[in-house]
């Protein structure tokens, strides 16, 4: 994943072993799904050194879920798009791994919990006040949402440059600066934010029934009806 990750637990000290287990899990995911590490299962699958049937059951499950998401997003969430001639499930893996770690910490007794990974987050036991960064004016937040339980993911063209491409054109989408999605799980929120962002002008229409905030290049901010409920 190559992402900085914070766990904040407000209500009590969770057993150190539970935290170690959560971070151990995240390290395992990193080792297994990395597209940078030539020895990871994903790299070996892409190199043809590992057959899909020999892959770890969780690798197969993640790839199957990528396919489901691809179908559910009109092909805009596409694990085959980022990497020419190979599969890159990174767009799902981070959210999914955080969801699993989150569930583990909840089982260990954490009630007021926030896991943030590279600007995407999952919370429980709120109210949590969550600032949504304005993609154009970094000294401002575009919105503040209050969330008790759930996930928030933002996809956009940030200073790192465009790294989400429209799988149909191979080019970064035009006209949209960022898409923020609220959902029950981070895997879902993140994948949907990525897909809606990749859709460009079609994104707001596609996400109308979801809980989404889209910031367009002309500074218009589009909120879906359900998103309005979360505004601070």
């Amino acid at each position: 994943m190559g992402t900085a990750l914070t766990v904040e637990i407000r209500d009590r000290v969770v057993p150190r072993r539970a935290l170690e287990r959560a971070f151990g899990w995240l390290r395992w995911v990193d080792r297994t799904f990395s597209t940078y590490d030539a020895g990871s299962e994903i790299s070996r699958l892409n190199a043809g050194d590992l057959g899909l049937s020999e892959a770890h059951p969780l690798v197969r499950r993640v790839l199957a879920r990528c396919e489901t998401l691809r179908a559910g997003t009109d092909g805009y969430f596409d694990a085959n798009a980022p990497l020419r001639g190979g599969v890159d499930p990174s767009g799902l893996v981070k959210g999914w791994a955080v969801d699993v770690a989150f569930a583990g910490l909840r089982r260990a007794g954490a009630r007021q919990l926030c896991i943030e990974a590279g600007g995407d987050l999952r919370v429980a036991g709120g109210p949590w006040r969550i600032g949504i960064r304005n993609p154009r004016r970094r000294d401002q937040l575009a919105a503040v949402v209050v969330l008790r339980n759930g996930a928030v993911a933002t996809s956009g063209a940030y200073e790192r440059g465009p790294h989400v491409v429209d799988p149909y054109t191979g080019r970064p989408p035009a006209g949209t600066l960022s898409v923020t999605m609220i959902d029950h799980t981070l895997a879902q929120a993140d994948a949907h934010a990525t897909a809606a962002f990749a859709m460009g002008p079609r994104g707001p229409v596609w996400s109308a029934r979801l809980t989404a905030m889209t910031i367009l290049a002309d500074d218009q901010v589009l909120l879906t009806p359900t998103f309005l409920r979360y505004r601070a």
Partner: protein
């Protein structure tokens, strides 16, 4: 990838400290007063490995993270803890190569610093839509806090 693992490990250490720290009652009446007591920023000698100078006042700890690199810039953060609470954040080094990066950093840095203090005051708990610089900056912040707490 080894680098990513280190981040996770360091974060784990910081988390335990944070979880414990939240149970302590706040002892600083005016956190902003500590902001004025910080050393001057931006000297070229700032780019040194992470350090922990001896505390000059009881209960006050200062630490500087090691310089960390983004593909665009170097980031180094200094924090001041007063009785374990975050009372000052200083970006002692933030460099970039191209004019683009410098322009972005010039805007990003004061915001990030304000957010750290805001987050402390619980007005905003967390920010969605982080940038590359902010990730590294937050990492530097955590390292500095970690160093200060261990000190």
């Amino acid at each position: 990838m080894r680098r990513a693992l280190t981040i996770l490990a360091l974060t784990a250490a910081a988390v335990v400290a944070l979880a414990r720290f939240d149970t302590e009652p706040p002892r600083v009446k005016n956190p902003l007063s500590a902001l004025h007591a910080r050393p001057a920023r931006g000297t070229p000698s700032a780019l040194q490995p992470g350090s922990r100078p001896p505390p000059n006042r009881p209960g006050v700890r200062t630490a500087t993270s090691p310089p960390m690199a983004t593909p665009f810039s170097l980031v180094q953060v200094q924090v001041t803890l007063t009785h374990g609470r975050l009372t000052g954040v200083e970006t002692v080094a933030l460099t970039g190569d191209g004019p683009h990066t410098q322009a972005l950093n010039a805007r990003a840095e004061p915001i990030l610093r304000r957010e750290a203090l805001q987050a402390h005051s619980a007005r905003i708990d967390v920010v969605s839509g982080a940038t590359y610089t902010s990730r590294v900056w937050i990492k530097s912040l955590r390292e500095a806090i970690d160093l200060a707490r261990r000190g």
